[in-house]
């Protein structure tokens, strides 16, 4: 192993995005000629990524000793992409890769979930139109995502950032024949783009202050106090705006539920496990700087808290199985941002990892259900555990992880976040967050009960249902395993086993390495709240649809508020229709009437009118013209006279 790691290591990190790019190019151009439209190329690409990731982890350990991380020179692979130089002036955009523990967490999540999703998709997408194109875009997405997490330069990170946005756009709009899918893709792209305005501004502001796009240089400059605090706060908040857009935080969360129009495996990969945590990655990457600008950190904390709560409450009433999961994703991302907001980067990244596994599992499970029944409204499902035992089992494992039941992965990471919050922020934050965890348990229980238990409510769909093929169940089982055990990584012993002494704390929280430990008092509180949630959910929904409908009538107003997502979509649509399009209408009117018809055509008409009046001087009578000539002679001779 060490021998190979000399040849393939962090220096070769560029291989990570390169392999799927090659797969993307080959599939998109030659998919008609390839067997199975080239899906195997995408899988081979993912396998290659997993392999390279393993090599990189091995290589990475060589720079991790004495409880410190020593990146050294080996970490960066760079060439000049853009270079403008003059006397004592240099404008440089480099391509460089930078791998550290945060990147590695992301790499693990992307490579494992990506591989699972690719394998799963061969079953799920079987026989669909644009089968090969789907795999091409999937490869493109993975390439962009890997570039995003390995890039050492902000510009290239932005490039990848937009690249994942593009892939997300293409995959949400994969079924573009449906107008709703086209609209959802548009909404996702525009909404994230609004956030990206902030990101780009932040990048340029940071460049202006430091003269560099290199992330480590910027962090070094910012933490050493070279940049004014207000300026830095503005820049970091601008960066956070990008994260808000990409990670679907309030107020830009509206695109993620709609994004469920895309193929379910793509949702699992992009809108649950990887792309949406890019924002978390970005903030985590800049966490040393956020240590300096505490105002920005508070903004992150409360944004995350608000998002977590709102999304969880919306998830309570959503009827579409994928939308419930989407709201859950938004909520869990809120948890991660809360963790970042209190400075617990390790907890946040840990949650990224476990969330990637169990949420991907849940999405793939829901995909299996949709694949089998063709329905995705929970009101019409039910009792599916008899038809789809493997799906049901793995889905329940994922749900337990999401709900935060002990042993399962979600419990450990969520507990870490709650623990971190309790020691860094006010009790209010802790209470809201614990309440949100309770809500999470409730809606998760509801989802599981309505889907897999009780009586089937749509008989034809139920009869039609069957267990999915092994290409789909295998990834489910693997992810189920990971969703169960990946939480154990938190223990020092497990960390040591993998070569990271001190567990994940050492892996991701470089500056203040401390080992994770379980405070059983907090853990029991968390467990009790989760179990309470499960019990409440059981009481309400265990019997099937009738109680569910009763639950709806408990408070119709509140229900309507939640179903309509706090009317935020309507608000935004109203703003777009009234304000933006109204303004556009005014400007278009201004251009048409004032600039064009008054300014340009009006000018032409004025000259035309002037000419029209003037033309009557042309009487056509020769004596009149002769009189004019004579008058001219008179003027000339008077001028001569005046001179003489």
């Amino acid at each position: 192993m060490p021998d190979i790691s000399v040849t393939i290591g962090m220096q070769q990190a560029w291989l990570l995005p390169a392999m799927p790019v090659v797969a993307f190019l080959i599939i998109s151009f030659f998919r008609k000629l390839l067997p199975r439209e080239g899906d195997f190329l995408a899988i081979i690409g993912m396998l290659g990524i997993l392999l390279v990731t393993l090599f990189i982890i091995v290589d990475f350990q060589g720079f991790f000793h004495d409880g410190e991380f020593h990146p050294g020179e080996a970490n960066v692979y760079a060439f000049d992409w853009v270079r403008i130089s003059a006397d004592n002036f240099l404008f440089l955009i480099e391509f460089s890769t930078y791998i550290d523990a945060i990147s590695i967490v992301m790499l693990i999540a992307i490579s494992i979930v990506g591989l699972m999703v690719a394998i799963y998709s061969t079953g799920y997408m079987q026989g669909e139109d644009r089968y090969g194109w789907y795999f091409a875009v999937l490869s493109l997405f993975v390439a962009a995502m890997l570039l995003l997490v390995t890039s050492g330069s902000l510009v290239w990170m932005y490039l990848a950032w937009e690249g994942v946005g593009l892939a997300s756009y293409l995959l949400i709009g994969h079924y573009w024949e449906r107008q709703s899918a086209a609209e959802a893709a548009k909404k996702a792209f525009i909404t994230t783009r609004v956030g990206d305005v902030g990101l780009l501004i932040g990048i340029i502001l940071l460049w202006k202050a430091t003269g560099s796009f290199d992330i480590q240089t910027i962090i070094a400059a910012a933490t050493s106090g070279q940049i004014g605090e207000t300026y830095l706060t503005v820049a970091m908040l601008a960066l956070f705006a990008g994260a808000v857009g990409k990670s679907a935080q309030f107020p830009l969360h509206v695109w993620l539920p709609d994004a469920m129009e895309g193929p379910t495996p793509a949702s699992a990969l992009i809108h649950a496990a990887t792309m949406v945590v890019a924002g978390v990655y970005l903030i985590a990457r800049f966490s040393p700087v956020y240590e300096v600008v505490l105002v920005a950190r508070d903004v992150i904390l409360y944004t995350g808290l608000l998002t977590a709560f709102l999304a969880a409450s919306m998830g309570l009433v959503a009827s579409d199985i994928k939308r419930v999961l989407a709201f859950s994703t938004i909520s869990q991302l809120g948890f991660m941002f809360v963790a970042l907001g209190v400075g617990a980067v390790g907890a946040a990244m840990f949650h990224v990892l476990t969330h990637a596994f169990f949420k991907a599992l849940l999405f793939l499970g829901s995909g299996s259900v949709i694949h089998a029944t063709g329905r995705q409204e929970v009101e019409y499902l039910g009792g599916l555990r008899h038809k789809q035992p493997i799906t049901a089992a793995t889905f329940i494992i994922g749900s337990l992880a999401l709900a935060g039941i002990p042993i399962f992965a979600g419990f450990w990471s969520k507990d870490e976040i709650l623990h971190a919050v309790s020691s860094y922020a006010s009790p209010f934050v802790y209470i809201v967050l614990a309440g949100t965890a309770l809500l999470t348990a409730i809606y998760t229980t509801r989802l599981v009960l309505l889907t897999f238990f009780g009586d089937p409510r749509d008989r034809s769909a139920f009869d039609h249902a069957h267990e999915s093929p092994s290409s789909m169940t295998l990834p489910l089982l693997l992810l189920g395993l990971l969703a169960t055990v990946s939480g154990f990584f938190v223990f020092d012993a497990v960390g040591n086993l993998f070569g990271f002494s001190g567990g994940i704390g050492y892996l991701v929280y470089l500056h203040h390495p401390h080992s994770f430990h379980i405070d059983w008092a907090f853990a029991s509180v968390a467990t009790v709240s989760s179990l309470t949630g499960v019990i409440i959910g059981w009481v309400y929904w265990h019997g099937g649809a009738e109680r569910a409908i009763k639950a709806r009538t408990w408070s119709p107003d509140l229900h309507a508020l939640l179903v309509n997502r706090y009317y935020l979509d309507e608000l935004y649509q109203g703003i777009i229709n009234r304000v933006v399009l109204g303004l556009a209408g005014i400007v278009a009117w201004f251009d048409k009437k004032i600039v064009n018809e008054t300014g340009v055509d009006g000018g032409a008409q004025f000259i035309g009118y002037f000419g029209y009046r003037l033309k009557f001087l042309q009487t056509g009578k020769i004596p009149n013209y002769a009189l004019g000539i004579a008058a001219g002679i008179l003027v000339l001779s008077v001028m001569v006279l005046a001179r003489a």
Partner: protein, 102 residues
């Protein structure tokens, strides 16, 4: 001896009267006649200058000769045009030949 100013003044008056004719008359032929008056006025000037001031070269004389020649040609051609106009319109009133207006 007669001072040159006499001739020049006469030339100016003749030119002016001719111009008045050109401007006030309506018949094409009368306008032509008035043009001849103007030319005569100019010719007087030329010749006066030639014989008073340009005694060696008398270019003015030659110029006057050309003026007379060109006037003859002009009258011939102009009459042709007038005739043509008359045939087309049954009039030689220039006011009525105003097709070239706006």
């Amino acid at each position: 001896m007669i001072p040159i100013e006499y001739f020049l003044t006469l030339g100016a008056i003749l030119f002016g009267l001719g111009l008045f004719g050109v401007l006030s008359r309506r018949s094409a032929i009368l306008i032509l006649m008035a043009v001849e008056l103007m030319l005569a006025g100019v010719s007087i000037n030329f010749i006066a200058f030639a014989s008073y001031l340009d005694t060696d070269a008398f270019s003015g004389l030659i110029f006057a000769l050309f003026v007379i020649t060109v006037a003859a040609a002009e009258v011939g051609l102009a009459l042709g045009i007038v005739l043509r106009l008359f045939r087309e319109r049954r009039t030689s009133n220039v006011d009525e030949a105003s097709d070239m207006r706006w």
